[in-house]
Symmetry: C2
Subunit: 179 residues, 2 copies
DNA sequence: ATGGGCATGTAACGAGTTACATGATTTT
DNA sequence: AAAATCATGTAACTCGTTACATGCCCAT
């Protein structure tokens, strides 16, 4: 009966699992907050997933008539949806981490570039890390005192340390390449 | 004239850029060596890319008749292919890093699991890190004295530090969750 | 009035996977 | 004798993206 659902489905269900009913638009916005560790699906994909989840009776849609504006639909997890999602979360077997790291890819083919160009890429990357760290620090502050976001805070923390590590590694390599 | 090529195309060209002509099968094997920082395309995808590159005259195919076995085709970069690939490598603007980190995703939805289950996931992840570190250490040794693989060695080094950092972060979090 | 945000959806396309398919050689 | 490796390719399918499309509201 149950075909396997893609991760995007679980992301959508997960964002609904906090209890607050959300519109597709809201889900899209929240999904972008995950993008440091999991890419946010395009909004078209989110609407597709919502239709599928509705067909499978894992979520219910409620029409909210808007004055003037086109109608809004807000979605909520059903009991079945909650059960399916919970089962997924509680499965401790983890899919492998997938990383697409364009800098490392180009570095691997470094024989086709000049060292100065590789140094420039590393410098760019360090700048990207710094920007991300700045953003994460702000988010960290916002979540610091909110017990409802305890798990989100742990993940932000993880990402902060991760970006710090990346920056350190990049620095070390830059010094190695440019002595 | 030139539609944009997907990254898989550049991976294939990159693996041919070392000068050694390779069969599709060989390319597939080498691509798996990149999988710590960029997912290796399925073999069917590699054959597709080779056809496309051939159509665009970026690679040439040479038939090598085999005794008994089905014929083997080995591919080589053309001058045009080398130029296209080099231009790509030398472009210092980098696409953003994309990460799919199932552990962090489940952790984000930690309110739907029991702490013990999250701890188990972290323990699993630490084990995965240790395994990866072991493999990377072996690869490091094999490449240590080979100047032809200098850039590959830098990337392996990067990955080693990266996995170490992940393990450290996971450990810290595990202690935080299970005091 | 112009641009951005809210809000939803479809269409066309491409990338990429899994499964299907074949068959010889080498290793266990 | 069975399993793994070498070697190549097609078919069916899903996922996911970008572009297209609409239209209101609010701020500048």
């Amino acid at each position: 009966m149950n075909k396997k659902l893609p991760t995007s489905s679980y992301i959508v269900m997960g964002l609904l699992s906090f209890g607050e009913p959300l519109s597709g638009y809201e889900i899209r916005k929240r999904a972008h907050e995950l993008s440091h560790f999991y890419p946010a699906p395009a909004h078209s994909q989110i609407y597709k997933e919502l239709r599928r989840l509705e067909d499978n009776e894992l979520v219910t849609a409620e029409d909210v008539p808007q004055d003037g504006k086109p109608d809004k639909q807000i979605f909520e997890l059903t009991a079945a949806g909650t059960a399916v999602f919970q089962k997924w979360v509680q499965n401790t077997a983890l899919d492998p981490v997938v990383q697409k790291h364009p800098l490392l890819l180009k570095l691997y083919f470094g024989h086709m570039a000049q060292p100065a160009q590789l140094a420039e890429m590393l410098t760019n990357y360090i700048a990207q890390c710094n920007e991300a760290l700045g953003q994460l620090a702000i988010v960290q502050e916002f979540m610091a005192e909110d017990p409802e976001q305890a798990y989100a805070a742990l993940v932000v923390d993880w990402n902060y340390h991760h970006m710090e590590a990346e920056r350190t590694i990049a620095h070390r390599l830059l010094e190695q390449i440019r002595p």
